[in-house]
């Protein structure tokens, strides 16, 4: 009989020999809830399949236990926590400036929005007025980051459907933006650029020249890349009518961002609850009525165009002035609570900060859209095929760094 050696839990040096059975992802303890008991009971002709934690298309370290009947997914149970770093706890023991370094790598694809929300919350706690130039710089860099994130989304979407080329074309756009932001902030991905009361550095020549070169060709490039997928029969047939999320369900699932706008809800925090200088800027909130994966994909394309519009306005209307408010070096807000939310490329990035008057936040809650949206996979997938699981997951665009905090 074949056997496998296991490390004992008590002493890592003791190796035990045990007979192996069929490896099933059923947890080795009694079920904790009715739902768990129901899920881990196999019906006739069903089997479990363990997708992840190492899987090419789970966008990070996610494990999804799929209950399948042939190729059809009956039910699924995402298992999180492989990337859990306890950022909220870390933030409670760091001073206010340090928290930005902690929240930065949460959602590493669009890190600026992870900085923006806590910074806004702390500004509310401190009652600081942010200089207008700083706000414009924030909007400008944030919209650039949104485009970079959406570009990557389109590539991933195609890659999860088996297309090899779009991700590399997307990376051309993303890399140019990322280099541009590196010229502005000093880092490529984890910028650590926003400060409480402003930003870290002013616009510089290097950034502006790169931005100008890119802006002159960006929208043509985006358009050209899209002809590969938007009219492709295989792509459209796979995406249309898949994972339809209606208006009521979108609200019931607490979802935000492009995923709900594709279901016909014009909920964009930039307009619904304006912050920064967005009330002064002209842009549309694109919405779509279908609510399927194709709508979620196409909506992000429209958003890229709107972001280009916003960047253009920011460059035209950039005021002069200081880039940071005057603040004491050690930040001690008076006791209070503040909630700040920004509209990121995936939805609402929010921070709920409680101050108790010391130099460290008493409680810092970080709300990440990926976490909320990943639930919807469990709602939209059952009844579809295994391949559709990836398509639906990709269309909701979760990033595991944000999901697991």
């Amino acid at each position: 009989m074949t056997s496998v050696r296991h490390a004992s839990a008590d002493d890592p040096r003791v190796m035990l020999e045990e007979d192996i059975g069929v490896f099933e992802p059923i947890p080795p303890y009694p079920p904790r809830t009715e739902r768990e008991a129901e899920f881990y009971t196999l019906g006739d002709g069903e089997m479990f399949i363990n997708m992840g934690p190492q899987h090419p298309s789970t966008h990070g370290v996610l494990r999804v236990v799929l209950k399948i009947e042939g190729e059809r997914v009956v039910d699924l149970d995402p298992v999180l926590g492989y990337l859990h770093r306890g950022v909220e706890k870390l933030c409670e023991n760091a001073d206010y400036h340090h928290t930005i370094a902690y929240t930065d790598p949460l959602e590493y694809i669009s890190a600026l929005f992870n900085e923006w929300a806590p910074v806004m919350a702390f500004e509310k706690l401190m009652d600081v007025e942010v200089p207008r130039r700083a706000e414009y710089i924030r909007v400008l860099s944030g919209e650039l980051n949104r485009i970079a994130s959406h570009a990557l989304f389109m590539g991933w979407m195609a890659l999860d459907l088996g297309g090899l080329t779009p991700i590399l074309w997307s990376f051309i756009e993303r890399d140019e933006i990322v280099e541009m932001l590196a010229a502005l902030t000093g880092q490529r991905m984890l910028f650590n650029y926003f400060r409480i009361g402003g930003v870290n550095g002013d616009l510089n020549h290097d950034f502006m020249s790169r931005l100008g070169t890119w802006m002159s060709k960006a929208s043509a490039q985006v358009e050209a890349n899209q002809t590969l997928l938007n009219e492709n029969e295989i792509f459209v047939r796979r995406m249309r009518g898949l994972g339809v999320l209606d208006r009521e369900t979108a609200f019931r699932m607490c979802m935000t961002g492009p995923s709900v706008r594709a279901s016909g809800i014009p909920l964009d925090i930039r307009r619904a609850h304006p912050y920064s200088v967005y009330p002064e800027l002209e842009f549309d909130i694109p919405t779509r009525q279908e609510g399927d994966c194709l709508a979620r994909y196409l909506l992000r394309l429209d958003e890229v165009k709107q972001s280009l519009r916003i960047i253009d306005q920011c460059l035209n209307e950039m005021p002069d002035g200081p880039i940071a408010a005057k603040l004491p070096r050690l930040i001690r807000p008076r006791p209070g609570r503040a909630y700040a939310a920004v509209e990121g490329p995936r939805g609402q990035y929010a921070t709920y900060a409680i101050s108790d008057g010391t130099d460290q936040p008493f409680r810092m809650r970080i709300h990440d859209p990926s976490f909320v949206h990943l639930q919807a996979v469990g709602l939209l997938t059952p009844g579809n095929l295994i391949a559709d699981t990836m398509a639906i997951m990709a269309s909701l665009d979760p990033i595991m760094g944000g999901v697991d905090k």
Binding site: T33, G81, M253, C254, M255, L267, R337, A338, Y352
Partner: protein, 183 residues
């Protein structure tokens, strides 16, 4: 600050509010008892004068003396965030009704609050740990959490034996644990 919202809230929930409606910047905060939560939430969600259809955030808070659950709501009827605080949960056995009957998407956020604070949400069909391993025994975001002690107790906590032996396993709960000086 939306004064009209404050008046509406006071008129509608006068008795149930545990304190005055607080407003600061663009936030309006009401505090209610945990038992009133389903009714208040249903009112806020269903009645067109409020129309709070979107639950933007749900989290738990440990103030060091009591537990709270905090809900942030958004509505097109008001420019403010509405913050509903279910106040005064006991730290020993925090229990609060679930809001999954209104927002199914609150399920995972409640699981997270359960995982981090041990708050039991009554009515959540799937209340189990979401980040921490199943055999984890303590609740990390509580204010009396002490990593070497609490993590070492559970085999899945990731504390190796060498570290465990060096940790002061019988450390007294320190008097310096941050207690609330909150408003």
């Amino acid at each position: 600050m939306d004064r009209a919202l404050k008046r509406r809230l006071e008129a509608r929930f006068g008795e149930r509010l545990l304190g005055p409606v607080r407003q600061r910047h663009d936030e309006t905060e009401i505090r209610i008892a945990p038992g009133d939560l389903p009714e208040v939430m249903r009112t806020l969600h269903d009645e067109p004068e409020f129309g709070y259809e979107a639950l933007m955030d749900l989290c738990g808070v440990d103030t060091g003396t009591v537990m709270q659950t905090v809900y942030h709501l958004w509505s097109a009827t008001s420019p403010d965030w509405l913050r509903v605080v279910a106040d005064g949960l006991s730290r020993d056995e925090p229990r609060v009704p679930s809001v999954t009957f209104l927002w199914k998407g609150a399920e995972w956020q409640e699981r997270e609050a359960y995982d981090m604070f041990g708050i039991a949400f009554e009515g959540n069909r799937d209340l189990r740990r979401i980040y921490m391993p199943a055999d984890y025994t303590s609740f990390p975001l509580r204010k009396d959490f002490y990593l070497p002690d609490d993590a070492a107790r559970s085999p899945g906590g990731g504390v190796r034996h060498m570290e465990q032996s060096q940790a002061p396993t019988n450390a007294e709960p320190d008097a310096r644990v941050r207690r609330s000086r909150l408003s």
